[in-house]
Each structure stands twice: as C-alpha cells, then as structure tokens.
Symmetry: C2
Subunit: 287 residues, 2 copies
C-alpha cells in the first residue's frame, strides 16, 4: 500500500490486484471501504477478488499480466502477499518450530535447546489478549526481545512480556492504525464483544486543517475491557492507538474513555475528541 | 503567549514584561527555560522580574510604558495577569463562595441554595488527585458540567466527576502540555514524589520532520502513581498528555509506560517514543 502511494507520487499508473474484496485484509470492512475510496480518489486502479492473474515472463522479467483474458503491461510488478519466518537454520539445529513456522521460545526467549535463545522476525510471540502464540514480525519487538535474549544468553533471567499489536500504515494523507484484536480474531477466540464506532473531527471545524477520523473499538461484554481498536484518518490516530494500547496493557475499562479529561486547544485538538465520543457511546451502551 | 506569537507573525515588535524570572509560571523551570529560548529565537524581547513598570496614559489610552526609568512606546498593551470568577450575581443571591472566589457546588453541581445549580467559569471544581477544590475555568469542563447542572436542575441525579488538568499552549512551532499537578502543587499537597525527564525525537532521525520533544513525569514514591506530567515540543505531545491523563484517571502505574507497546511507523512515530523512554527510566529508578 505504501509502495503504491510512493510510485503514485512519482506519477506512475498503479494497478492493485487484491485476492479479497477490499484492500488491507485484517482491517475492519468499514475502514477497508474508506481505504478503497482513498485509492480511487488518488487514481489507483483496484481489482477486487482477483487472484487469478498470470505473469507473462520474457527473458526472466515479468513483461505483462494476463488478467481475465486481458493482457496488461507493467514496468514493475511488486508481489506483497505476506511474510513468513525463514526457519531453515533453526530447523537444521532441530529447534522446536511453532504452527506459524516461527521458532518456539519460552517467556525468557529460550528455544527448545537450552543453550540457544532467539528474538526478532524468526520467533513466535504471545498475544497478551488471547495468550496464544502468533507470528507478528515487528522492529519494536525485535529490538525489545533482542536485549532480553542477549541478556539471558549471557546468564540473566529477564522476562519477555506478551505483546499488544499496535501497527500503522500510511495511505496517502491518512493513517490506518490497528491495535489489539480485530473482529476475526475476537470471534476465533470466542470473545463475546460489542463494537462501537464513530467519526469525529481532529480539530474544531473552523480550523483550516480540521479533518475527519473514523474510529472503532471492540470491547468484551462482561468485563468491559478493550479487545481492540482501529482508526483511519489524521495523524492524531497514532496517539489514540497508543492510548488504547496503554488501556489494554493496564486493563482499564473501555467506558472510562468517556469520563477522562482530554486536551482541548484549538490549534491542536478538538472540543470533544474521537476517543471521548466512543467512550460516551460505550457508557450509554449505544452501538 | 499565543497573542505574542500572533502579533509576531504579523511582523510586530513584541515585548513581554514577566513578574517572575521565566515565561509561563506554573510550568516547570526546565520547560520555562526552553520557552524563553523559543521566544528569543523568534525575536521577542523578554524582561524578567519586571512588575515595576508604569503605564503612561494620554487621552485615556496607554501611550507608553515606563520601565526602569526608560520610556518605551507601544501601539498596543495587552495585560494578561490571570482570570478570576465574576461572582457578583452569586454573591447577591447569597450563594456560598469558595476560597478562589468561585461558587461552591457539590458533586451534583448544586450550589448552597438547593434550587440553584451552577457550571462553567464561575464555579470551583474538585481536583481528582488532591481532592481539593480549585478554580480552573476551561471550556471542556463548562460543557461537561453544563449538561450535568442542566439535567440535575430538571430533576436528574447526575454525578460530576472530579477533574484532571490537561491544558496546552501553542508557543510558535511548539506545544506546551501540562497534565495533573506541577511540582509546586505536589509539594503543597505533601506528596512524596520522584521526577523523571527525557528528550526524544518524535520520528526516527532520518525523517525530515523529525524534531525533539522534552517530557517530564512526577510520580508518587510509594504508590508509583502518576501525579503530573509536562511536555514541550511537537504536536504529538497532545497525544502523550491524553495518555497520561487516561493513566491518572485509571490509576495506572507510571512504570507501565516502559512496558507498553507503542506504535512505530516511520512517517508517524519514532522507534522508541518519549513516553517509553520515561517509563523505562522510571522502571530502572533513574532520575
Ligand atoms: C517494508 C517493511 C516495512 C516495515 N515497517 C515496519 C514498521 O513500520 N514498524 C515495525 O515495527 N516494523 C516494521 N518492519 C519489520 C522490521 O523491519 C523487522 O521486524 C525487523 O527488522 C526484524 O529485525 P531482525 O533483527 O529480527 O531481522 P532483520 O532486520 O531482517 O535482520 C536479520 C539479519 O540477519 C542476516 N542473516 C540472515 N541469515 C543469516 C545467516 N545465515 N548468517 C548471517 N546472517 C544472516 C540478514 O541478512 C539480516 O541482516 C518492516 C519490514 C519491512 C520489510
Ligand atoms: C483567550 C481564551 C482562550 C481560551 N482557550 C481555551 C482552550 O484552549 N481550552 C479550553 O478548554 N478553554 C479555553 N478557554 C476557556 C473557555 O473559553 C471558558 O472556560 C468557557 O467559555 C466558559 O464557558 P461559560 O459558559 O462558563 O462562560 P462564557 O463562555 O464566558 O459564557 C458566559 C456568558 O454569560 C454572559 N453573561 C454574563 N453575565 C450575565 C448576566 N448578568 N446576564 C446575562 N448574561 C450574562 C456573558 O456575556 C457570556 O456570554 C479560553 C478562554 C479565553 C478567554
């Protein structure tokens, strides 16, 4: 998605072939629809449900794509279908491998061989909300865990905490931010949850840079704890996401968002921000 | 301060006479020094410890200021020495008045007359951290309390929660953000606290818009709870402040800041953000 933007800014024609119906699988359908609008607004061709294309190769280079019997020529083809751990070294060392192909480690980052510790893009890590292992290769984890694995390999006994997902993608002038579980994960893990969403301006409307941001929170019905959230809009969504990550970490109830004192300063923040609106809706039990 | 900036942007010459040693009383000395630097960088004249000026008035207009025997002419003089509640109507209605001159209300916003409710810039409100009354006239409180006072005057029984200060001031390209108690208040209220500070970039250093933000957190020695925080730097400080306000509201420990998963996305957020650095220092007990 970020490459599409970068090449578009260089005035290239861009075509995205997406296997599912909307861009950015993993995000909520509401946000995926907003992203599609954004792509179209920026002149990007988008083909939905389109995994039946074929590359036409000449002299070892992709020359064109055959899609639904149409031959489409491209200067560059970028395949972005996900990431998986390169576990060949670990396999040859007979380390235990998890179900996503990553090295299994304990909460001291020790592998199944007590003399080998691992960190970074090749390990599976524990989700703080589901308590299940996942494969989520991020620089923040690689860094944090690298320190722990290194210390423990040298004889220390540092504990590696489970993680809360907190990722963002830049999509033209928008930030997409996803924290914690999405609906698919909440369902798969049997959570009984409620979903609340709202749209709010990031500044009072009279400010010239005022713009809208969409937000959505999933919270557990009985405990009232936040399971996940997603935002799409202005840069302040990064701060909203960090605040939600902090609340998940500290097991703060979702409805407290409606009672907190947020900043209001016209050049920086709106009279009532998106988190406050979401919190007030949660408090009232509105959907 | 914001007027100084606005007029400076119109290319006016600006002189500030400040009664104390540094601008923005109430902020921490570290930040006040940074603000002074910022004012000087922007060509603003600043006179410290200067409350002994005299206005020279002609035809009912201020024509000049006599300061240390120097006559300085100005086109406009703006006096900004604080705010106090206009309680004349309340006094004439014999309502009980608090020690800051604001109307005393209970947690239903009822005044001492059971048929009169009050909200907004004329009441005293309870600080959530000290549990003492203060006078802090903000639009956010006026709005929130206006709803409650109105509902209760009409027979409802809504509760008004105590407040957490969360204010910001724009100072040229910087945001100053203050949340909760400052050191003076922490001392006055007999808290035994620790103070931690750090400077961090808001984006990885290779990003062109990367810049530094200063942050400081006060937290209670025994409980580890946050008493207050201040930031000076980029706009992301608003998000940091809201996150701190949320932690104070939910009584989350200061050191958890070092263990949370914050966002890292090069166009939006740094590899390790200011809050995380402050949290790690708190965890290690560094000052
Ligand atoms: C396009 C892109 C964007 C990303 N954006 C973000 C982001 O915004 N935020 C975020 O948190 N993360 C992001 N990431 C993920 C982040 O880059 C990785 O999680 C992180 O770099 C992993 O660190 P690592 O040390 O585990 O692996 P790496 O950084 O991949 O380092 C592993 C090193 O080992 C070397 N190596 C491999 N095999 C051997 C061998 N047999 N012998 C010797 N050396 C070997 C490799 O050459 C490599 O230099 C992004 C990744 C990509 C690809
Ligand atoms: C320069 C400035 C910047 C500010 N910036 C911020 C900010 O960034 N964030 C923030 O949260 N707050 C800010 N505030 C504070 C905010 O504006 C006030 O807290 C808020 O407006 C208070 O609302 P209120 O309804 O209590 O009073 P007001 O908005 O003052 O309304 C009171 C009304 O009552 C009228 N009135 C008075 N006496 C009588 C009478 N006897 N009969 C009839 N009518 C009467 C007045 O004319 C006025 O219209 C700022 C204030 C100022 C002055």
């Amino acid at each position: 998605m970020e490459s599409a933007e970068a090449y578009r800014n260089l005035r290239c024609n861009i075509t995205i072939f997406e296997k599912t119906k909307l861009p950015l699988p993993g995000a909520s359908d509401e946000i995926r629809s907003l992203i599609l609008e954004e792509l179209k607004k920026n002149g990007i061709n988008f083909y939905e449900n389109s995994d039946s294309y074929k590359f036409i190769i000449e002299n070892n280079f992709v020359k064109a794509v055959n899609f639904q019997s149409r031959i489409m020529e491209f200067d560059l083809v970028l395949v972005a279908t996900g990431v998986k751990p390169n576990n060949s070294l670990a396999v040859s060392a007979r380390l235990e491998i998890g179900k996503f192909g990553g090295i299994k480690v304990d909460n001291r980052l020790k592998t199944s061989d007590q003399n080998i510790f691992a960190a970074g893009d090749n390990i599976e890590i524990q989700n703080r909300i589901t308590r299940k292992n996942e494969y989520l290769p991020l620089a923040t984890f690689a860094h944090k865990h690298g320190h722990i694995a290194g210390a423990n390999a040298a004889g220390a006994n540092e504990v590696c905490e489970s993680f809360i997902k907190n990722i963002a993608v830049k999509i033209f002038d928008n930030a997409y931010v996803g924290i914690g579980l999405n609906e698919i994960q909440a369902n798969e893990n049997g959570f009984s949850y409620l979903k609340i969403s709202a749209v709010a301006n990031n500044l009072v409307k009279v400010m010239p840079e005022s713009r809208k941001t969409f937000g959505q929170i999933l919270y557990e019905k009985n405990s009232g704890l936040i399971l996940g959230a997603e935002f799409f809009g202005g840069k302040e969504a990064i701060g909203y996401g960090d605040l939600i990550s902090s609340m998940i970490y500290n097991k703060s109830k979702a409805e407290t968002l409606g009672a907190m004192d947020f900043n209001y300063t016209p050049p920086f923040s709106p009279f009532i921000n998106l988190l406050s609106i979401l919190g007030r809706k949660i408090k009232k039990g509105q959907l």
